[in-house]
Symmetry: C2
Subunit: 338 residues, 2 copies
């Protein structure tokens, strides 16, 4: 009797893994069914998000981390890399990145790299990425790194998927970049200044630490009887801990600072496990996934139950500005279950 | 008898416009009701998307275009600017941009600037932006510019909202930026090299034109009997026209190139109107909006009809990896309408 696709993935077949990833990315019924069967095997991998602006050297940093997990940890960890490029409806920078990686990591059966371009649909990429990550998780990869290009909604979405978010910067970014950092810092569990052999590294470090202080204040200042007062911020993690995002310097071309970065990632993992945040992040991720699936299922049912002609007629009324979108939607949704 | 909020917006009250924008952004029932009443008055404005990486000078370019529409066109156009910052859950660069703008445009009652930060929810920002644009459209603004930070899903979403998309570049961007450009070029109706007084402008222009050629080939090459053959691409716009995205150079600090840019924007508008693409873009935008509203309405009804305890129990089963998300969603959705 031959193995099913999920069984074959669980027993370590790389070919089956590749096949399943394609099924899942394309959203086929077979892929969904297989993922459903594999789901009980998920929840063990450490999910890392790596984000940063173009030019910060994210890809080679991810590369070096993967090498570290393969060669410097005991036992070696199985590593999956998911390179997400939301700016490209087609393949783009991500594929280029893979080629560069191949030299160091090619041929290692316990490293798997997958590029993902935009599905072209709102939220589609985050959903597809979540599904691909679950496949790797069930297939027994210990560390799954999700790399995405910075400055956009996309990495906030990716941050929701992972346990630990690395935000990568490089020295010498302009003032305009500083202005958009505030939002990204909110999601950073670890800040990395890569290319730390370049001029301006001290200025970047000072700026990042100042912004971190603003984003995650250890003390809060308020006015009391006309005087500034400082009070310590309550430790608010479930387990009573408080994580202060560290700023680390790396040079990914030489590998300098990589062991320290891997150490900080490990510390964050311990923090999550001890504080209860690991379970909390799992819960909020799965809640968001349920909500998305519920929406999709409801929409699919609506489509089955609504005549295309009725829908097109409603759209025509909106196009002619005779009715507003809200009016026709109310009529469509209430009409569809009479 | 006092005017309703929509009436007051239609008769030009700036105070009512501000109030309605806040209602709409916060998704209140009053805002939705007012927008529904105003909807028949939409569909007239020219919607411009302006996107590009940080540091390209997008904001001051938008500023200069607004000044041009106020001072150099006859009759002067009423201009709204929506500055979208998806990287920031809070206020950020966008607000900074407004301050800079104020010096030139403050006090002009026919210019309105609105900053929008991320709603924090997937797709929420694009939806809120669409609603804010409809408010401006109904209030009689002739040109509505939607400015967003480059490199992400967000500007692909914004491109779906608008008639004409400007992609702004600047000389001297690195190779890594080149790699991500391919996707952005797909959405560009007009390419602008801003800061064109900087070194490297010719190289940037050559690179952009080469990539445009790839993205929108005028001729296609294929192999035939071992030889490369060139065939012209079919003109495939509904009206038989074909728009070839021009590359323009501007210096937004001095205003150089702005009249030419405004001319190209006007040409694109004529092209859209004559080719039938104006109506097509309207149709696909409204279709997407209907689908989103249908999803929201279906989800709202599901929430009303599903006991919170039932939902939480289902989530707990998923967290324990006893059931997959797909299984519980099927049960929840089918169970909710028994």
């Amino acid at each position: 009797m031959s193995e099913t696709l999920p069984q074959s993935v669980l027993s370590g077949s790389r070919l089956s893994l590749t096949r399943l990833l394609t099924q899942v990315e394309n959203g086929t019924d077979e892929g969904r069914q297989a993922l459903s069967e594999l789901f009980p095997h998920t929840g063990k991998a450490h999910l890392l998000g790596v984000t940063g602006a173009p030019g910060t050297g994210k890809s080679s940093l991810v590369n070096q981390l993967a090498l570290h997990y393969r060669q410097e940890t005991d036992p070696p960890r199985r590593v999956a890399i998911v390179a997400v490029d939301p700016s490209s409806p087609f393949t783009g920078g991500a594929v280029l990145g893979d080629r560069v990686r191949m030299k160091d990591l090619a041929g290692d059966p316990d490293v798997f790299i997958r590029s993902m371009a935009s599905r072209g649909s709102l939220g589609g990429l985050a959903q597809a990425t979540a599904a691909v990550v679950q496949v790797f998780d069930s297939a027994g990869f210990d560390v799954i790194m999700i790399e995405t290009v910075g400055a956009g909604q996309s990495e906030v979405d990716i941050a929701r998927l992972v346990h630990t978010t690395l935000v990568v910067e490089a020295p010498g970014m302009g003032d305009d970049i500083q202005a958009i950092k505030a939002g990204i810092l909110e999601i950073a569990d670890i800040l990395v200044i890569n290319k730390a052999d370049r001029p301006g590294v001290e200025a970047t470090e000072r700026a990042l630490k100042a912004m971190l202080e603003l984003a995650h204040p250890v003390k809060r200042v308020f006015r009391h009887h006309g005087q500034d007062m400082e009070v310590p911020v309550q430790k608010d993690a479930p387990g009573g801990g408080l994580w202060l995002s560290p700023v680390l310097k790396t040079i990914s071309t030489s590998g300098q600072g990589i062991p320290e970065l891997a150490g900080a990632i490990e510390q964050h993992r311990s923090y999550l496990l001890h504080s209860g945040d690991w379970v909390e992040r799992d819960r909020s991720r799965l809640r968001a996934e349920l909500d998305t699936l519920i929406q999709n299922e409801l929409l699919a049912r609506f489509r089955r139950e609504t005549q295309p002609a009725v829908y097109e007629q409603a759209l025509a009324l909106v196009l002619e500005r005779e009715k507003s979108p809200w009016e026709v939607v109310r009529e469509l949704v209430n009409g569809s279950h009479k």
